[in-house]
């Protein structure tokens, strides 16, 4: 029997029908899901040069000698691109009212290696997902540049927007962006900023360094050229009285100082935000449409976990790093986590505990709107009945874990990458989430430096429970086999069983010889069954072997989905998952 590997790269066209083994082999592991909102934007009109790092044309070589690659060298020198500007209003309107064209097919993520993992790149740096991180490391997060050295010189002010603040230069000449908590909500947003940043750093995203600082008026001087725009006027020179007023109207620490979060300016020259769709047309290194990048699809899982509903394009930033005069490249960052966890903004766009809607419904969500419209308001939102612990743990804001449903979580408005997230994207992200132990979560939450230990404990407990829900949800979407190692036999782990999500009676498997040039599969004997996650490797001269494994679980039907594992000379070279 000859099978073609190109079938493995088919795109989804609907739910996987029940199949016999033979039928399954003819159409193995299709991607799936009738995608929800999707898109038509200028960004997508960019030439789709990108091919998946693993996806090669039909009948072409599937595995290269350097597979699986661990690093995607997307740091080739490029001329400095121009600055991209983004209108937050336009972004909201476009994503809400004119999303990308609906498509019948949602392709698998295109930037994964042959193991389905995301290689290190200018977008993502594998950290806790691939190695142990000490609690000290987790608590330190991205901090390497050093705390701001006092005194700080204010070089610009920001009196409008969700969180007023300053741009300052410290005594060492480094530039920081300083933001405060509003008077009624001490520690709320500054803690969310630091904690959120440390989580996303440990996950693997590029973020800036943020420090909690406790300032007194005497720590701040004003640069003669500093200006500020206040409501109702254009920019005006910043005066001492304005600065004092801003400090006075910010939350105070019990010792009389004003707490702020100081974020070090990112390395390189800012080039504006990146979009969650298309590619930058002026960046040769950017060849995978962003909506098909696994770390951007999987970002949804992390954002749901940490309730980062403000995870939109305006809160990202590209910088040109690595060298002047055309020898640098672009690095992609996430910025601004002040609206995450239990921190958000109120209707006047001032820092406040999260709106109960946040995470549960888009700003404009047509389905509940129409339901409420034609039922005279009788059809109500379930999230209105969530009994939040706020304000008992005021510093933690409004966040809970009992009603949280990772599969239904929503950001502020549709995100093209989130909308295209497939089960294997979610599984990749959930694996990383599962790496955060209780102690790891507590170590990171402690960096919020809460005044109330009860609030800190509540937030950490909530994040831990949300973690468990996230992991359970995505480990139940497909067959969660992982940790393959080949010796005399092929051993692996069932992450679902390890998390106590279900029992497995055994594993069905079938070996094939795989032709790397043509993609043809030739069965090697009959299928087998193993009680334990250990299956024998057949003798074969074929340079490549593939084994298809399904778990038998009465409680978890999704675990019967296939996982194809490729070996070359007993070296693991590929993993593909049916979704």
């Amino acid at each position: 029997m000859i099978l073609h590997q190109r079938d493995l790269y088919q795109c989804a066209r609907g739910p996987t029908p029940a199949r016999s083994k033979t039928e399954a082999l003819r159409a193995p592991l299709p991607a799936r899901r009738a995608s929800p909102a999707r898109s038509k934007t200028g960004a997508l009109k960019a030439p789709l040069l990108a091919l998946a790092l693993v996806a090669t044309p039909a009948a072409a070589q599937k595995f290269y000698p350097d597979d699986p690659i661990l690093v995607d060298r997307d740091d080739l020198p490029i001329a400095k691109p121009g600055v991209i500007e983004l209108s937050a209003t336009y972004d909201l309107l476009e994503k809400t009212f004119a999303p990308m064209d609906p498509a019948d097919e949602v392709p698998r993520a295109m930037n994964v290696n042959t193991l389905g993992e995301v290689p290190d790149s200018s977008w993502f740096q594998n950290r806790i997902g691939v190695r142990e991180m000490t609690l000290e490391e987790l608590a330190r997060g991205p901090l390497v540049g050093g705390r701001p050295e006092l005194p700080l010189t204010v070089i610009a002010g920001k009196a409008t927007g969700i969180s007023p603040g300053f741009t300052v230069r410290d005594a060492a000449g480094k530039v920081y962006f300083v933001k405060f908590d509003p008077l009624p909500h001490p520690n709320l947003s500054t803690a969310a900023e630091v904690i959120g940043k440390n989580f996303f750093y440990a996950i693997g995203y590029h973020v800036s360094e943020s420090y909690l600082v406790y300032l007194r008026s005497g720590d701040l001087t004003i640069d003669p050229g500093a200006q500020v725009r206040i409501e109702g006027s254009q920019r005006v020179p910043m005066e001492r009285a304005f600065l004092e007023k801003m400090l006075e109207e910010s939350a105070h620490h019990p010792d009389g100082s004003t707490r702020a979060v100081a974020s070090l300016a990112l390395e390189g020259e800012a080039l504006g935000p990146f979009q969650f769709q298309g590619t930058r047309p002026d960046d040769p290194n950017d060849i995978v449409p962003h909506e098909h990048r696994r770390e951007l699809r999987g970002y949804r899982v992390f954002c749901a976990w940490l309730n980062h509903d403000d995870s939109r394009a305006i809160n990202t930033l590209d910088t040109y790093v690595g060298g002047p005069g055309g020898s640098g490249h672009i690095r992609h960052h996430l910025i601004d986590f002040s609206s995450s966890l239990g921190s958000g903004s109120d209707y006047l766009r001032r820092i406040a505990p999260q709106d109960p809607r946040a995470g549960n419904e888009y700003i404009v969500d047509f389905e509940p709107i129409w339901k409420a419209f034609y039922t005279f308001g009788i059809a109500d939102r379930a999230w209105r009945r969530i009994p939040y612990a706020y304000p008992r743990y005021a510093e933690a804001g409004r966040i809970e874990s009992e009603y949280f449903d990772p599969g239904k979580w929503k950001p502020e408005y549709p995100n093209p990458a989130f909308d295209r997230m497939l089960a294997d994207d979610g599984f990749w992200a959930a694996k990383i989430v599962s790496r955060f132990t209780d102690d790891a979560v507590r170590a990171i939450v402690s960096t919020g430096d809460f005044l109330s230990k009860e609030a800190e404990r509540y937030l950490a407990d909530t994040v831990i429970r949300r973690r468990d829900k996230v992991v359970a949800h995505y480990f139940r979407q497909l067959n969660p086999l992982e940790g393959f190692s080949a010796g005399d036999s092929l051993e692996f782990r069932n992450l679902g069983v390890e998390r106590g999500l279900g029992e497995v009676a055994g594993y069905e498997y079938e070996w094939f010889a795989f032709d790397n040039q043509t993609g043809e599969l030739a069965p090697l004997g009959a299928s087998g069954r193993a009680d334990d996650p250990r299956i024998p490797i057949p003798d074969s001269d074929s340079p490549y072997l593939m084994v298809r494994i399904r778990a038998e679980s009465p409680s978890e039907p999704s675990w019967s989905k296939a996982v194809d594992v490729y070996l070359s000379s007993n070296r693991l070279v590929g993993i593909e998952r049916e979704i």
Partner: protein, 431 residues
């Protein structure tokens, strides 16, 4: 032996090199890294700058503009605005002036508006004026009538003290007669010109409780209305049917208002209640036959029906004028019912009387926070004596509102009564 000329050799070598390079580029990549590098090199040949589309470009320009927003837009404190100085005035473009802390904490405010129906409004205020931060003070255009005082929000300072000079010219005010026994066909128009000078002070007891005391002088002038489609009031009514039309009185006016505002958001309430209590004395300084006192209250309650997206809004307002012995209350000073805030199924100023009662019920539901729908019914009575609970006129209707969290931006309503059907487009809440 022939020596090959150097140029053909170079050309040959160059051709060979190009061919070799081409062959190499056409050969399949040997590694994944090479395959990816080739894709990137291919894109390098076609890079183009990112260009936003035209609409996005305009949004970016707006976002970047450091000019004030349209609400903040002003020239040296002069803010362009459109107002409706009186019911039936039509839209009046004009300017407001706002300059805070001109002399120490003293503020200056002013307004000048002229409507397409030739209504005019000018005022100037100076002193410690209630306001929130840098925002231009909110105001009630009819701050001297009971039905609007609930929209005057308490602000800072806690001890306001300010003087006001005001002139209004209302050339087409409607009058149908006094009491409940009037008909739509009785419509007449008159012109009212009013000048006021007064001093106001007060105290904001808490964020939700405040009182204001005003005292000043009011000059009135009444003349024929300018609307050509209706007869003038003086041609249809004498001084008995329209007291004060022959010799409109001037007043010394003393006013006290007490506010209890426990609404969650005054401009867009979802829960809570408000009570405004009014006591006024009008002392006739000209003919000495039109002095009267006015007392009244305006109570509004907002009950969420199990959810903030379902609101039952209730309102009851009563005004009672009491003339001194032998005196009467001028027709143009009496409260009225009709129009977009009171009896919505009737024309503005449709009913006037010494006793006014107004009762309103609205069921409001919000499919989303910025979109509200409503069904409502209004009932009211304007009588010359007795209590305003009998002979109620009533209407019903439905509406749709677009809102921010703080205010109603646009209100579309249609209301039906036994007299007429009225349509409204307004930029304020119904109550």
């Amino acid at each position: 032996m022939r020596v090959m000329p150097p140029i053909p050799i170079l050309a040959l070598l160059l051709t060979a090199a190009v061919a070799a390079a081409a062959q190499e580029s056409e050969a399949p990549p040997k590694t994944r890294e090479e395959a990816l590098r080739r894709q990137r090199e291919e894109k390098r040949q076609t890079v183009t700058p990112h260009l936003p589309n035209r609409i996005e470009e305009q949004f970016i320009r707006l976002d970047k503009a450091e000019n004030p927003t349209i609400v903040e837009l002003n020239w040296k404190g002069f803010y362009p605005r459109v107002a409706w100085p009186s019911r039936g005035s039509g839209a009046a473009p004009g300017v407001r002036y706002w300059n805070r802390d001109v002399l120490g904490n003293l503020d200056v405010a002013g307004a000048a508006f002229y409507s397409w129906r030739r209504y005019q409004h000018y005022d100037l205020q100076f002193g410690l004026m209630p306001h929130e931060g840098n925002e231009i003070p909110r105001r009630s255009w009819r701050g001297d009538d009971l039905f609007e005082i609930g929209d005057v929000r308490p602000g800072f300072p806690r001890f306001p003290l300010f003087a006001t000079l005001r002139y209004r010219d209302l050339p087409q005010e409607d009058f149908y007669g006094l009491g409940p026994e009037t008909s739509q066909e009785d419509r007449t128009t008159y012109r009212q010109q009013e000048r006021r000078a007064y001093l106001a002070t007060g105290f904001q007891v808490t964020k939700r409780i405040a009182f204001i005391v005003e005292g000043g002088y009011q000059w009135n002038s009444i003349g024929p209305g300018t609307a050509s489609s209706f007869p003038t009031t003086d041609s249809e009514f004498d001084d008995t049917g329209a007291p004060g039309i022959a010799s409109p009185p001037d007043y010394v006016r003393l006013s006290t208002r007490l506010f209890f505002d426990f609404r969650d958001e005054p401009g867009n309430p979802h829960k809570g209640w408000m009570l405004a209590v009014l006591g006024e004395r009008f002392l006739d300084r000209s003919e000495d036959s039109f002095s009267f006192d006015r007392i009244g209250f305006d109570a509004r309650g907002f009950l969420p029906l199990g959810s903030p997206q379902r609101i039952l809004a209730l309102r009851a307002a009563l005004v009672s004028d009491h003339a001194a012995e032998g005196d009467r209350v001028p027709f143009f000073m009496r409260e009225s019912l009709g129009g977009s805030h009171t009896l919505r199924g009737f024309d503005s100023f449709r009913f006037r009387g010494e006793r006014i009662g107004l009762y309103q019920i609205e069921y409001r539901w919000e499919p989303t926070t910025f979109w509200e729908l409503a069904v409502f019914t209004d009932a009211g009575s304007a009588t010359e004596e007795g209590l305003p609970f009998e002979n109620l006129e009533w209407d019903y209707g439905f509406g749709m509102r677009f809102k921010t969290y703080r205010d109603v931006l646009l209100r579309f309503e249609i209301a039906f009564s036994n007299e007429t059907t009225r349509y409204y487009i307004r930029s304020s809440t119904s109550f």
